[in-house]
């Protein structure tokens, strides 16, 4: 047994802290929550009123633009058609909306943080362990305070997803920027490029394959959160998996699970294709 007089607990302080946050800043959080909710609901609405054939055509067009492969494009459109054919189209759109908002927020947070981390070793040494915690901490632990701050539903689901999905993007942005050839940086410096010209003209374009790999990872991790998100009231494909588990309806759970996999495949193919360097500097 561990001696009692050496034990302590931080649970009390944390509980008090969260309580104080909820009672003092509740309004602020509600405001953030409402803005986010407005964005998700509108996006979801847009996706759901778009006719299914138009949606398939749009996804097909994007896939073709990214991959330039007819067969791959047809396969992807076919898979999405299958999801609609098993009656999960509406839920697919709900999940897609949730995921897109989470990805956009992750990109808005992750890329700037990655850029800053690449510039400062000090920030990086603080950030990396934080990212490790974000990726390994069981999501239910931070779901509880997020629920207290934002209530049930889509908004906490988005937050939980972003916390889980943003680390790979930060890491890969940082890595991509650090791997830009030292002599290229020296050369553009010697020609008097200012920090903006260096970042947007050279560093970001050259780090693009790495950053796109980060966005790809972020979308994949966001998708793996949809089932957990459904537990706190976010609707979509995860909901069907959850209901499948709760009612021992294995078939229904499998259908929804496969639909999540298909969505993952579609997004993975598209983001990976965009991540490949067009001019092939490294070939």
């Amino acid at each position: 047994m561990f001696p009692d007089n050496l034990t302590f607990s931080i649970a009390g302080w944390v509980n008090d802290g969260v309580d104080a946050l909820v009672s003092n800043y509740g309004d602020v959080f509600r405001h953030i929550s409402e803005t986010l909710l407005w964005a998700i609901i509108n996006l979801e609405h847009l996706l759901r009123i778009t006719p299914w054939w138009l949606m398939l055509a749009i996804v097909g067009a994007i896939t073709w633009h990214a991959t330039r492969k007819i067969l791959g494009t047809l396969l992807i459109v076919g898979l999405l058609f299958l999801v609609g054919a098993v009656g999960l189209w509406d839920k697919l759109m709900q999940t897609l909306a949730l995921m897109m908002v989470a990805t956009v927020i992750s990109v808005l947070l992750g890329i700037p943080l990655g850029i800053l981390a690449a510039r400062s070793n000090r920030l990086r040494s603080v950030l990396i362990p934080l990212l490790d915690i974000m990726q390994t901490m069981p999501s239910f632990v931070y779901l509880i305070p997020v629920l207290m701050l934002f209530g049930l539903g889509k908004v906490p689901a988005i937050f939980a997803t972003v916390i889980y999905a943003v680390p790979p993007l930060i890491r890969l942005t940082d890595l991509g920027l650090r791997q830009v050839d030292r002599e290229v940086m020296e050369a553009i410096n010697a020609f008097g490029a200012n920090p903006w010209q260096q970042l947007f003209g050279v560093q970001l374009p050259l780090a693009m394959p790495s950053i796109m790999a980060g966005i790809n990872q972020t979308t994949m991790m966001a998708l793996s959160m949809v089932v957990i998100a459904s537990m706190i009231g976010a609707r979509g494909l995860g909901e069907d998996v959850l209901v499948g588990i709760q009612t021992l309806n294995v078939g229904k759970g499998l259908e929804a699970g496969l639909a999540i996999v298909i969505l993952a495949v579609v997004i993975d193919r598209i983001t990976q294709a965009y991540g490949r360097p067009r001019h092939g500097g490294q070939q």
């Binding site: 290229v184 020296e186 553009i188 020609f191 008097g192 490029a193 050279v202 001019h279 500097g281």
Partner: protein, 276 residues
């Protein structure tokens, strides 16, 4: 060229210490300790050791030395890619070490350009955009960038490759792009850091000829770094020989060949005498 100063570039008592115990190292150097002793005592590497030299306007000034002699470090002081630990560097009579960041950028954009050993070209831009890079950075119009870049691409003999990407070019062609990029900005001074060292001998000779031909009409001040005596003798108006960050000898090719200052220079020259 507006102002023809006799000494375009002047380097005065420059020290460069890599490491964070600069003051200690400078004290040790004053006590006459050698590079190796300083490294053993402080863990700091002496890059440049009390170096002074002057470079005249319009000459090709070659800095020669073995690897580790500090020649690449020295040339990076001239556009402040590296800042010295102490000393003065004057270009057209102005101490460039006093420049703040905007002034330094202006200096790099208008007065000095550079060619790199491994080219330092942008892999995501085509030849034309690479050549125009210096102009673009200093905010010239697209039309002018385009016109100047096309001109210099054809001068270095790359017409027809304007839209090619860097990975499609051979080493020699890449360095022509590097040279065109430096020439396009029309700066008085061009730094060339082992610019031809990565090329095979035939291409290298060709590039040397091209540089000499261009220099006859352009009359730039060129600071050329090399470890190759033949190259130095071929293109240099004057040659400086560096060893352990110190200047051993400065002079014309004749001076170096006939009256080598010490054993180190002599060893450089001897092989040449034997073969000649």
């Amino acid at each position: 060229m507006s102002e023809v100063a006799i000494n375009k570039i002047e380097v005065r008592n420059v020290f460069k210490v890599f490491g964070n115990r600069e003051k200690e190292v400078l004290a040790l150097i004053r006590d006459g300790k050698s590079k190796d002793e300083v490294l053993a005592r402080t863990g700091c590497v002496i890059g440049i050791n009390d170096l002074s030299l002057s470079i005249r306007a319009g000459e090709v000034f070659v800095i020669m030395g073995l690897s580790g002699s500090g020649k690449s470090t020295l040339v990076r002081h001239l556009n402040r890619l590296i800042d010295p630990t102490s000393g003065q560097i004057l270009v057209d009579g102005e101490n460039i070490l006093e420049y703040d960041m905007p002034a330094l950028r202006h200096f790099r954009r208008h007065k000095i350009s550079m060619v790199f050993q491994n080219f330092g070209l942008l892999p995501h831009r085509n030849v034309l955009e690479n050549v125009a890079y210096g102009l673009k950075v200093r905010g010239e119009t697209q039309a002018r960038c385009d016109e100047r870049a096309r001109h210099w691409v054809s001068v270095v003999g790359l017409q027809g490759y304007e839209q090619a990407f860097i990975h499609q070019l051979s080493g020699g062609m890449r360095q022509r792009v590097g040279l065109a990029r430096a020439l396009a900005t029309d700066t008085d001074i061009i730094l060339m850091d082992e610019a031809f060292s990565a090329l095979d001998p035939l291409i290298r000779a060709e590039m040397q000829d091209q540089l000499l031909a261009l220099q006859r009409t352009l009359q730039k001040t060129i600071v050329f770094i090399t470890h190759d005596l033949d190259e130095a003798l071929r293109i240099g108006n004057r040659i400086a020989i560096l060893k352990d960050g110190q200047l051993v000898q400065v002079g014309t090719a004749q001076d170096i060949l006939l009256t080598p200052a010490d054993d180190y220079v002599d060893r450089f020259v001897q092989r040449r005498r034997v073969s000649a």
